[in-house]
Symmetry: C2
Subunit: 990 residues, 2 copies
Amino acid sequence: MKNKTFFPVEDWLITENEYIAEDMERNASLFFLGNGYLGIRGGLEETGRDYGGAHKGTFINGFYESAPQIYAESAYGFPDKKQMMLNLPDLTEIKILINDELFSPEQGSIIEYKRQLLLKEGIVKRKVIWRSPDGQKVLFKSRRCVSFEKQHMALIHVSVTLLETAGNIKIISSAYIDPDTRKTDKNDPRIGTGFKHKPLECLRRETEGTKAFVIQKTVNSGLYLGYGIAHSAGKSFSSQSLSLQDRFEFVFDTDAQSGCEYSFTKYICCHSSIEGDVARIRSRVMDDIEKSVAFGAENFLEEQKRHVAEFWRSADIFIEGDNSLQQGIRFNLFSLYQSAGRDGLRNIAAKGLSGEGYEGHYFWDTEIYVLPFFIYTMPEIASNLLEYRYNILDCARERASVMNEAGALYPWRTINGEEASAYFPAGTAQYHINADIAYGIQKYVNATEDFEFLKQYGAEIIFETAKLWLSLGFFDEKDGLFKINDVTGPDEYTAIVNNNLFTNLMVKNHLEYALQIADELQQKSPADFEGIKKKVNLTTETLRLWRQAAEHIFIPYDSNLSVHSQDDSFMQKEKWDFDGTDKSLYPLLLHFHPLVIYRHQVLKQPDVVLSNFLLGKRFSLVQKLRNYLYYNPLTTGDSSLSPCIQGIMAAELGREEDAYEYFNKTARMDLDDINSNVSDGVHIAAMGGTWLSLVYGFAGLRDYDGKLSFTPKLPKKWSRLAFQLKRGKCALSVDISSVEVRYTLTEGDALCICHEGEEVCIQQGNPLTFSLKPVLKAVIFDLDGVVTDTAEYHYLAWQRLSDELGLDFSREINEKLRGVGRLESFEIILDHAGKTFTAEEKQRLANLKNEYYKEFIGRITPEDILPGIADFIKELQSAGIKIALASASRNALEVIERLNLKDSFDVIVNPASLEKGKPDPEIFITAAESLNENIRNCAGIEDAASGITALNTAGFYSVGIGPAASDADWSLESTTSLTLDRLIEKFSSR
Amino acid sequence: MKNKTFFPVEDWLITENEYIAEDMERNASLFFLGNGYLGIRGGLEETGRDYGGAHKGTFINGFYESAPQIYAESAYGFPDKKQMMLNLPDLTEIKILINDELFSPEQGSIIEYKRQLLLKEGIVKRKVIWRSPDGQKVLFKSRRCVSFEKQHMALIHVSVTLLETAGNIKIISSAYIDPDTRKTDKNDPRIGTGFKHKPLECLRRETEGTKAFVIQKTVNSGLYLGYGIAHSAGKSFSSQSLSLQDRFEFVFDTDAQSGCEYSFTKYICCHSSIEGDVARIRSRVMDDIEKSVAFGAENFLEEQKRHVAEFWRSADIFIEGDNSLQQGIRFNLFSLYQSAGRDGLRNIAAKGLSGEGYEGHYFWDTEIYVLPFFIYTMPEIASNLLEYRYNILDCARERASVMNEAGALYPWRTINGEEASAYFPAGTAQYHINADIAYGIQKYVNATEDFEFLKQYGAEIIFETAKLWLSLGFFDEKDGLFKINDVTGPDEYTAIVNNNLFTNLMVKNHLEYALQIADELQQKSPADFEGIKKKVNLTTETLRLWRQAAEHIFIPYDSNLSVHSQDDSFMQKEKWDFDGTDKSLYPLLLHFHPLVIYRHQVLKQPDVVLSNFLLGKRFSLVQKLRNYLYYNPLTTGDSSLSPCIQGIMAAELGREEDAYEYFNKTARMDLDDINSNVSDGVHIAAMGGTWLSLVYGFAGLRDYDGKLSFTPKLPKKWSRLAFQLKRGKCALSVDISSVEVRYTLTEGDALCICHEGEEVCIQQGNPLTFSLKPVLKAVIFDLDGVVTDTAEYHYLAWQRLSDELGLDFSREINEKLRGVGRLESFEIILDHAGKTFTAEEKQRLANLKNEYYKEFIGRITPEDILPGIADFIKELQSAGIKIALASASRNALEVIERLNLKDSFDVIVNPASLEKGKPDPEIFITAAESLNENIRNCAGIEDAASGITALNTAGFYSVGIGPAASDADWSLESTTSLTLDRLIEKFSSR
């Protein structure tokens, strides 16, 4: 993984300080400008298709051309058309000639060069001081803006100053007729496959003064495109227009004085038939462009700045302590804002408006990775993105019917609503898209309380997509469970499996939500509900079956490993040989046949971990931890969608270093070009994931059913993280430092949230502050070797058994039994003694040992409490610190009673209730949960290595007694030196 | 399914009696001629590309062009080239002009028309009497021959007679330069996708008199093609040659008298660079063609006739009693002979040399469906087909490496040895191809004892392909079993599954065979073995792991159903809704998305049933029967590979009507165009399947480990089936009638075979004859209701229990318990009484009932034997007929003892040893097997419907006592009328 930073770390700025030809392609993606409708890649104005420079790009979000999808071997139901966001004819080209010499970074010499994306102003500006081959020293400046206020307009303002001697300046501004040839790569499925035909047919082209206007039509998709350019130049310029076969050229010519700035503005306007009347397309372009010319460049840019300031007021996230991440998050949020459609007719593509990667298609990325940012900062954009799904619902109905299913099936990837995935095992098979969209709607409605949206669009989508599940899955006669076979989950390194956990859980959630809103609509708006029911043909029987399916859906679980299985057969697969896989062989998809990948336990996207995040309330903490520990090592870095999810779960599970590392990968993925593919466009999902990482990760937001809850925890390096969330009519500011969090209501009267599990209500004008410093609130004790030395009795019991059986046994072997269960201990002894018994005999003899042990512990008295422990317990009690016992021994209760300590413990965990023993942290987590204390505020005391591992794994403060427990946060030789003062001192300074 | 017969049923002839334009395409496939090297479709000479008629075709087996394989979405390891058997430039065209009017079936009028494939002579001849629009009455005759003796030569002999008035005859014979455009269908994966480029580049073209010669080269595959034509015409013809851009034309002109026959011969010759020196290609063509011209047409045709007679001497199968099947089998065998490569450089394509369907590729069809015919009739051709596999072994090594596996992986479909499958779920994923090829080699070597082949080619293939399994599969740590995940078995309606039963069993067989030949080579030819070991890097460790894998390979089995599961998850799938699927929706692959098909229990090819045939000795009879009964209803008729296999297993399992129906589908598949796709070419695998159906099906050949065993059984309709098999140095004639079979050794001194399980040795000159008439050799008794009426005691016991529990019970309900197990009976009673108990209580109460029952049966005495039974048993004993008891009752032994009958039974089946109760036939099959008697010779006596079902399912002669058993072959009201005489009478006349 590369770690170089291409751009200096500056607040609110992305700066390119040098012209490096081979970086131009990548930087064209990073310096893209867009407004959700129109997008322009950061190609330099003075470079063009015939004379070098990066691949340029001008896009209208959702404006696509289609072509026949040709399969090497086709089959029924394979999508027969492909769609590609069309790279429009280039309108940005501005060639400058100084004394008829072309200003170009590729000739002459560059004396000074700076290009900057001004995140606060929403423009890209550039300054170049250049010496022509002829010796002219020229100052070139440009500002480029794609207007947020004027969706169809962009502007390029250029100025030229001859710094040393007078000379002739010619500015040649072009508008092309044919689109640029697209970049394609037939071996990398993540890049498009291109067109074989000329995608645009020119219907009309005209010039009027220095304005040009063109109407074109896409050959296959039948969409109309109208575009125009206009210019405003200083009076000294003479102008001339040329109508060439492939383009218009406008030549502005002046004899310039030295030291004098000659400036020039190019206005660009695009309209399409998607959003408006074709008959009016010419006047739409002309009106817009004329108004902008009249408005003037400076007003145009000023308006943009005001707009962007407004954006940052709701969307900014402030990080103190890491400027590079601060820069990363702001770049990412701004890119999201630049890329999201705002009219319900388009969505947000996988690469936004920064490039043609993934062919400009919309995926589940929108609902799962990007939507939360918009829901909580600009809910109107979130609403627009979901409205788009409503607008393609009929296509989804049609697709379900082709796929032989009821209801609607959303396309895995699409622009116009039709399925465009050409590889069904990782496309159409991802039926979970239906549940993902439902999840997005649920989150939106819960956070915004936008019941109108639900009535008008949401409910119909939810119901129609829910209907698919009943026909896709089936109730298995054998066990009555609802099962869904032959699907692919989010993890594309495992395909066409039965009962993908993620899918099944998301379906359960989807069905439950469908039932919930059916109830709600019935109660709140029965007439509307009747209408919707009729439209989607929703019967009582369907509702009954939804309930039955939701209740009885099959959840694959591996009870040997105590881990959720990603699907029915995942645990039956061979593990990938990670050690034997050279780094150069990643991403695996470019170096191994799909069958080889599918055959192994190896992940592209962490399916189970993702479900543990999205549907966290359906999992216990210990279960999430086990799943994380199992699947994380199997997860390659091959998908940009993974690290944010891994990071969020790492944060929840108290694994702060992991969380920080994953966050870095996410936040700087594009600026540092971590996957070396930014030239195809930025990673929109990962950008949304950055926001998720901060808000769900470090601030610990959870919003199941719309209630906001927080468990903030900053990375060590940071001193502050602050952001704002909208919730219904309220806006909440969350300001987290390393020691406290402050919740302030900036809009609305009152909002009740949860802070660390406790409900608190924030009133307008009355911020609440909570300390985040860990405070010792509970101590959890192991028994043997900590409270008393039953270890000695265990030794004696084993010794007696060994003597009777004639087995070789010693204190040395006994040391190996610390923290180990009864039967396992006996195995170790037998192994050492070289003896074997049948399973029944082993069980019987181990039980016999227990009888001997019980005899020994029958002799225990309070005298046997280890030195210092009795006093220490008293100290804890008088300090009001809770005490729990977490011993794996089934005789613990008897021992504690004989020690006369039973009443000292607030909680004694029953080991019989546990699924797994130490080093699994279940016993300690159960103790903390029973004490109702946050793990962060608990210390655990252990003498065994496995116990310390359990404590550390779960994030407890661990105290180790004796040599076997040296991996603890605080290690002591014996219990003698254990005092509350020393513990608090150590605990606080960790 | 259509059932029309297109052609009159005639011995040794396929006759087209009428010219029907729309049948020409189909009939062009059926009238194809080939010799394994050269193939020509049956297009009419006088039709051509520009003036109507069927799509023509001239092929050299294995002569292909390649083109880039373009994927809608590609991935690593997808084959990047496609290969297609090239349809060569047409050389057959002969236009005839009568007074300058074109002789054509499409104009004028046809007075008489007949085209015939003469199976005995190996030629197609045609006779047409035609009246020209101008009124000339013309007799046209042609004979066409692709020579078996002269592999590169074909000949067309034409004669024209003006029947009424003199006139001018012009014969224009052409040779084209460019190939015809291929038929393609992008929606049907079974048809090819065609070329986008012009595949042949012409290097040289020349004429010399009435001869023409051309050298071409394929653009991508770089193969050279040399072809020529020559003519011989009567002296009255003047001739002229034209060299046109796309063809040569030779015009033969004569003014003909009426009533005089004018004849003309066209010689066609093709050579390629595959089989010989490119530099000599011109002389190879010229030499061949000149020799043939000198040899003359009549000699040429006479030689063909002699050759074909020789073929039939070894290959013919004689059927008496069904002429249509006799015609079908002979057509099929001749087509196989015409299509199989004979030089180790080419194989046998899925459509043979009859058309371009499946792009002329070679599949597993060769080894599994076609090879046995050649092994047992023309072993030298079998050897050639396997040599081809050796010649592409390096490609298979290369492919294994691309797929990340060890050893070699044969392509699923190929011409040149490279994988050409463009849809990996039903292509590359069919790893079983390796084991199929090994199976073919094993069968070849066992039957021929060709140890030289094994040393030179076979062992290297077997070892190299066996190595793949160790890297593809893995030993599961959980259970030590060897598992193979993510493969596709032969059934293409189920894809990418874990532990496909067929694959795993074939792998086991492959590994065991590899170990066996390693031993054999070590013993017989250690030096050679060392060489092979070195070449394939075979270590002792590999051999050890092969043994371990073979022993521990996982065999999926559903113990609830007592059926082998097709793979790990097959039984977890929903069953296909066959009732809800309209007939028009078959084949399913053209009407449902693969995911929909894969998600259900529905089969294209019957995987498990196929494994039960190929590896039958690894399954018990009852297991095969259960598997057949489970999978047969799930098998669509969508694959031409299925019916022969289903039929063979139906025959083995005594289901004669099924066997006969499946055989019909197989034998007449092409002549009746059952799947409506013969126009793409004939179904070579089904043709091989016809031979399998007769020899393995009705003659019951099994040849595990090379030993021939037979259990013949003719369909009722047939009176005779006769054929000949080669085995080592021997040839065995098998002549089966409905009453007997006669084995005659026609070559060799002696051959030991098995007849109906008994070893017999046939000596030269000493044929052996065995009767096939069923003879009553054993009677198997049910107990309750047959031998004694314990049914009454069961009734009393249930009544007592019901009274105690206060349950409503009656004799009427008791009737429902006949033949039903104890716990199930109790469920029926409870169900009726509307009561529920826990599982334990039910068990306890059912046991209690058994105690009561035992009390009752304690009172049984020999007096309780049902009327007539004691005498009947005595009759059986004195007639030497064996007797068995097959009762499901666990108290049967006690009852029999009390009846004093224990010693009368030769076998008493222990019901505790059985997996399933009646109606599963296990108990009866077990009885017959214990008695060592063929089911055909056993009668079973039962009073319960479930028992009669069990008997009938397994093919026993069933005798039913009482009303519940009326589905029996012979039904009686009571045991009173049961006598041996009557039974033998009924048994013999069934």
